[in-house]
Amino acid sequence: MDTFQFSRPTTVDQAVQLGAASSTAQQSAEVRFVAGGTTLIDLMKLSVERPKQIVDINVLPLDQIQPAPGGGLIIGALARNSDVAHNPTVQRDYPVLSQALLSGASPQLRNMATTGGNLLQRTRCVYFRDTAHACNKREPGTGCSAIDGHNRTLAILGTSKDCIATNPSDQNVALTALEATIQVQGTKGKRNIPIHDFYLLPGSTPNRETVLEPGDVILSVTLPPPVAGAKSHYLKLRDRAAYEFALASAAVVLKLNGKRIEYARIALGGVGTRPWRSLEAEQALKGSSVDAASFRRAADEALKGARPASENGFKVELAKRCIVRALTLSTTMA
């Protein structure tokens, strides 16, 4: 690991100022904020991240989970994944988020990992994590080793000719289905970013993963008021039943009106280069009947644009079945 300067600001303003010295907030940033450390320190040990300065933001007052004015919930950026998952309001009003969080990592990691850090969780693509291989995300212009390499776990939606890395988070899939917004403070003040606009597609710049700029500190994530009468579910399919990343996952929020679907939000994990909202599936569901045929039609729509690589073609059908199953469970479970 390369050495670095360590600082521990006590105010957000100080943290913004320290972060602003970096030339980028994306891959290869010279200044990195550390919260839980579970992604960053792992990648520093692999020399994938080599910051010159570490800014420890753990003493900033950003760990609260509190009601939002006008309904909804504000989750502080430093709220630990375990605290969010076990929060009574989250469990009652946003169970899909609790389920997603508890399906990820391990109890120890969930005690460390934060809401803001999880938003910025990096891909598990083995070529990104191994500096002996070419990777456009880690080192722009070097090529993608995954496209003709081991790509069984990688993305089938939102890929480009330069990158097929999967966004690995469970939390972010649930937050996408819940239409969360992200509060950020930067050098030009505060702003709200809908989660749908927060993540960038890889395109020709897979090293740029989010819209964050140098100095930007994530303050909180706000969930809109829960949709009255809606049911939700997070289903995660993986190679073993625990402690593994998703091959395909689905977060669904569904509201019925009699025998028709009145409201649907569908987000996918494990298959996209970013947490994958499927507007196509949502449109297919709206107004349709609550039955297996409707669910399957929506699943087909969601995967219409899938472009599998050499080893991950199975994910197309897996993701479809994941959507159908999650929808079925959301409508049949109490």
Binding site: V34, T38, D42, I54, Q108
Partner: protein, 228 residues
């Protein structure tokens, strides 16, 4: 010169020790602890088995120890850590993980280094009463925290009930993962964990046991929970 580099390096390591021997006059082998013997073999083993290509490919090859004691290291930072109720004043290389700090700087080797990437749970300690992977945290991040390690849970003559249960139920084979297993198991007393064996397995999946002592570990955890 010995042909086998392992032998030659052990010999040179022993040679250094021999210079110290007159202090006590004890026979050399009697003074080499299991830990110091293994650390010599470990360093030599790496040198002996690494293919030649690595020697030139990486001028900054990782040292055998991530964070040795850091007197005089550039950018070293003073810090006070509170561990098992006792304060320790240290000056640390900022790269020092909490795990390496415990093992290398504070000579508390009860906390184990397994994968060093947050995947195996051998390094589990409690920070402010909650179990975490000490390998994925810099020590400097913990100046205000109360840290508890396996050394603070119990001692050989005064075992924690969970330690006693692991002994009673044979909850280990080689023992390397055991301190992490026990630190996780002790944390379960404060976590929302259901009563069944399946609940315990779910709560303990962040601790890997390559020997596969899982059924005995579950039995130990359940027996300690029932007595608590």
């Amino acid at each position: 010169m010995a042909k086998n580099p392992v032998e030659s390096q052990i010999a040179s390591g022993a040679g250094e020790r021999e210079k110290l021997a007159p202090e006590t006059g004890q026979p050399l082998l009697g003074r080499v602890s299991r830990r110091s013997f293994l650390s010599h073999v470990g360093a030599a083993g790496i040198a002996a088995t690494a293919p030649p290509i690595f020697a030139s490919a990486s001028p900054k090859a990782a040292p055998a120890v991530d964070a040795p004691p850091t007197d005089g290291v550039k950018d070293a930072v003073p810090i006070t850590l509170r561990i098992n109720g006792k304060e320790h004043n240290l000056t640390l290389d900022p790269r020092t993980t909490l795990l390496d700090c415990l093992r290398e700087n504070l000579n508390m080797p009860g906390t184990k280094k397994g994968c060093d990437h947050g995947q195996c749970g051998a390094c589990t300690v409690h920070v402010n009463g909650r179990r975490v992977n000490s390998c994925l945290s810099f020590a400097l991040m913990h100046s205000m925290d109360e840290i508890t390690t396996i050394e603070g849970i119990g001692q050989p003559d005064n075992l924690h009930p969970m330690q006693a249960a692991f002994v009673e139920h044979d909850g280990y084979q080689c023992g390397y993962c055991t301190s992490g297993q026990i630190m996780s198991a002790v944390a379960l007393f404060k976590e929302p964990v259901g009563p069944t064996d399946e609940d315990v397995k779910q709560a303990m999946y962040g601790n890997i046991c390559r020997c596969g002592a899982y059924s005995n570990i579950v039995a130990a955890v359940q027996s300690a929970r029932k007595r608590a």
